[in-house]
C-alpha cells in the first residue's frame, strides 16, 4: 500500500505548499519552504505513478486497477499504457503532470509576489485533484489475488494508447499554467503555445487512432468526449485571434478542461460512449464553478470582433451538442449543418488575409485540414459487401497465428485497388476485434475491414475516403508551425 501513502503525502505537501505560497505574499521567507514542499510533492506523486506502473509490469493482480486493466499476456508497453486506461490511473497521471507543470511554471520567469499568488491558485487546484485521487484510489486492493487480469479492452491495445492520453493530459496541465498566469498578469506566451501545440497534437493523434479503428466514426466522429477535448483547444485558438478581452478565453479553456474531465468520468452520458460512473465526479462541477468566476468577471461585450464571433459560435455549437448528448443522441448531421459552415467562414477569413498573414504555414495547414475534413465528411462512401457475391474482391488466403495474447486471423483479399490484409483478433475474454487494412493513394484511401466471417461467407465493410491525406498533412503543418512559434 506504499503507493497510496505516497499519494497521500504528495497531497499533504501540495496543499501545504499552496498555503505557504499564499503566506509568502506577506512574508517572503515562506516561499523557499513552499518551493521545497512542491518538489517533495512532485517526487512523491512521481514515485506513486512509478509504483503503480511496477504493479502493472509485475502482474500484481491483487491491485484492483491492475486486475481490471491488465493481463499477463499483454506486452510490457501495453501494460504501461494500461496504467492510464483506468479511471484511477489516468487521474494519477494527470496529477503528476499537474504538479510537474506547476514546478516548471514556478521556475519560468521571475519568482515574485505575482508568481506566489499564481502558485497558490495552481497548487490549490492540483491539491484538489490529488485529494480526489485518494478517493479514487489506484492502489485499492482486492481481497484475494487473481491469477490473471481482465485486461485492457482490445480496441485500446494500440501504440496510440501509450502516447495519446499523456499528451492530452500534459496539454490540460499546461492550460492550468495559462489560467493562473493570465489571472495574475504573468507573461505566459510559451505556456500558451505549448499547451495549444499539445492539445492540437493530442486531438490529431486521437483522430489518427480513431481513423484506423473500425466503428469509431472515422478521424472525427463528433463523439461527446472528442468534442469536449475540442472546447479548450477552440478557446486557446480564440485567444490567439482576438485582442480585447482575450483573458476570458484563457479562463474558459480551463473551465472546459475540467468540463472534459467531468464528461469523461461522470457517467452522465446516456450512451455507449459513457464510462463507468465515478461517484466523486460531481466534484468537477464544483471545481468548474470556482474556476469560472474570473471568466464571468471578464465577460465583456465591448471587445467583440469578427474572429471572436466565429470562435464563440463554434464553442457554443459544440458545447450545446455535448450538453444535449447527456440526455439525447445527437446525430453528426447537427455538427455538419452548424459547425462546418463556421469552419468554412474561418477558412474564408484565412484565405482573404493570407498574403498579409504572418503565420502562413500554420494557416495553410488549417486550409488543408478544412479541405480534407470537408471531403471526408461529405464525400466518403461506405459499402457493405459480401465477398462471394461481389466481383470486385477475391479472398486469396486465410491464415491464423497465435501471438501469445490473441489469435490472429489474417485474410488476404485481392481487388483492383490492391491487396488488402484485414485481420480479426480473437481474445479469450473480450471476444473479437476487426482490424482494418488501408491502401493509401494521394487522392483516396481504400479502407477495408471484415465485418463478419463464417465458413461460407465473408462480409466486408469497404470505404472510399477522399483526400484524408490533407487532414494529416494539414495537421502536421499546424503542429510544426506551432513548434516553430515556440522558438520565436
Amino acid at each position: 500500500m506504499a503507493g497510496f501513502e505516497l499519494l497521500l503525502v504528495s497531497a499533504i505537501f501540495c496543499t501545504t505548499s499552496a498555503i505557504l505560497f499564499l503566506a509568502s505574499v506577506r512574508n517572503l521567507k515562506f516561499a523557499e519552504f513552499a518551493e521545497i514542499l512542491l518538489y517533495a510533492s512532485l517526487s512523491c506523486v512521481f514515485a506513486s505513478l512509478l509504483l503503480l506502473t511496477c504493479h502493472f509490469l509485475i502482474d500484481d493482480f491483487s491491485v484492483l486497477s491492475v486486475y481490471l486493466n491488465s493481463q499477463r499476456e499483454m506486452s510490457p508497453w501495453l501494460k504501461i499504457s494500461a496504467v492510464w486506461a483506468g479511471r484511477e490511473g489516468s487521474l494519477l497521471l494527470w496529477n503528476f503532470l499537474n504538479v510537474l507543470s506547476a514546478s516548471i511554471f514556478l521556475n519560468y520567469g521571475k519568482k515574485d509576489l505575482k508568481k506566489a499568488k499564481a502558485m497558490f491558485v495552481f497548487l490549490s487546484y492540483a491539491s484538489a485533484l490529488l485529494i480526489l485521487n485518494l478517493f479514487s484510489n489506484p492502489f485499492a486492493e482486492l481481497q484475494f489475488r487473481h491469477l490473471n487480469g481482465i485486461g485492457m479492452n482490445p480496441v485500446l491495445r494500440t501504440p496510440e494508447m501509450l502516447i495519446h492520453p499523456p499528451v492530452v493530459f500534459l496539454g490540460y496541465s499546461l492550460v492550468a499554467a495559462v489560467y493562473v498566469s493570465t489571472l495574475f498578469g504573468i507573461q505566459n506566451r510559451k505556456f500558451l503555445i505549448s499547451s495549444w501545440v499539445l492539445l492540437t497534437a493530442g486531438i490529431i493523434l486521437g483522430g489518427f487512432w480513431a481513423y484506423r479503428t473500425l466503428g469509431w466514426g472515422g478521424f472525427w466522429g463528433w463523439d461527446p468526449v472528442e468534442n469536449s477535448s475540442l472546447l479548450p483547444w477552440l478557446c486557446l485558438t480564440a485567444y490567439f485571434h482576438i485582442r480585447k478581452g482575450k483573458e476570458f478565453f484563457a479562463y474558459l479553456a480551463m473551465v472546459f478542461v475540467v468540463f472534459a474531465a467531468f464528461v469523461t468520468r461522470s457517467g452522465i452520458l446516456s450512451s455507449v460512449h459513457a464510462f463507468a460512473s465515478d461517484p466523486f465526479s460531481f466534484f468537477f462541477v464544483f471545481l468548474m464553478v470556482l474556476l469560472a468566476i474570473p471568466a464571468v468577471r471578464k465577460w465583456n461585450f465591448e471587445g467583440f470582433c469578427y474572429s471572436l464571433l466565429i470562435f464563440s459560435a463554434m464553442i457554443i455549437v459544440v458545447f450545446l451538442g455535448i450538453i444535449t448528448s447527456f440526455f439525447r443522441n445527437v446525430d453528426r448531421s447537427y455538427y455538419l449543418i452548424t459547425f462546418v459552415p463556421l469552419f468554412f467562414l474561418a477558412v474564408c477569413g484565412i484565405i482573404y488575409r493570407f498574403i498579409k498573414m504572418k503565420r502562413k504555414l500554420l494557416h495553410f495547414g488549417v486550409i488543408l485540414l478544412f479541405l480534407g475534413s470537408f471531403s471526408v465528411w461529405f464525400f466518403e462512401e461506405k459499402r457493405t459487401i459480401s465477398v462471394e457475391e461481389s466481383g470486385l474482391f477475391r479472398l486469396s488466403n486465410l491464415s491464423e497465428e497465435f501471438d501469445g495474447e490473441k489469435l490472429i486471423l489474417r485474410a488476404k483479399i485481392e481487388s483492383k485497388y490492391g491487396i488488402f490484409e484485414p485481420e480479426i483478433h480473437f481474445y479469450d475474454n473480450w471476444g473479437q476485434v476487426s482490424k482494418v487494412s488501408i491502401i493509401s493513394t494521394p487522392f483516396l484511401d481504400y479502407y477495408l475491414a471484415i465485418r463478419s466471417l463464417s465458413q461460407d461467407s465473408i462480409i466486408i465493410e469497404f470505404y472510399l475516403v477522399p483526400l484524408i491525406i490533407l487532414v494529416w498533412l494539414g495537421s502536421v503543418f499546424i503542429i510544426f508551425a506551432g513548434i516553430l512559434r515556440l522558438r520565436d
Binding site: G89, L156, D223, S270, S271, V272, T324, G431, S452, S454
Partner: protein
C-alpha cells in the same frame, strides 16, 4: 461592430437550437420497444445477450434488465452495452448500425 453583428449571431444561435432539436433523438429501451408494433430508424440501448452467428448474420438479444428483444445484425457483435440503430418489425429488431466507440471502454 455591436448590434449589427449581434442580430445575425442571435439568429444563428436560434438556427443551432432548431437544428439540434431536429438532429437529436432519444434512445429507447427494449421495454419501450416491445410495446410497439413497428418502429423505424430507432436507437435502442441495452445489453447484448446470447449471441449466435450463422451465415454472416449475428442473432442476439438486447436487454434492459426488464425485457429483452430479438435482434439480428450482419456483422460481429460482442457482449456489452450497445446502442443499435435499426428497424423494429414483427418482433425482430433489424440492426443497421451499432454505435461503439473507444470512449465506451476507456475510463481515463
Amino acid at each position: 461592430m455591436g448590434k449589427k453583428v449581434l442580430l445575425p449571431f442571435a439568429a444563428f444561435l436560434a438556427l443551432v437550437i432548431v437544428t439540434l432539436y431536429h438532429s437529436s433523438s432519444s434512445t429507447i429501451s427494449p421495454s419501450d420497444l416491445i410495446g410497439m408494433k413497428e418502429a423505424y430508424g430507432v436507437a435502442v440501448q441495452g445489453k447484448v445477450e446470447e449471441t449466435f452467428s450463422e451465415n454472416g448474420q449475428t442473432y442476439f438479444y438486447i436487454s434492459d434488465g426488464r425485457s429483452k428483444i430479438r435482434a439480428v445484425y450482419a456483422g460481429q457483435i460482442n457482449y456489452g452495452e450497445i446502442i443499435a440503430l435499426g428497424d423494429w418489425k414483427e418482433g425482430i429488431f433489424y440492426v443497421r448500425e451499432v454505435l461503439k466507440k473507444c470512449h465506451t471502454e476507456y475510463g481515463g
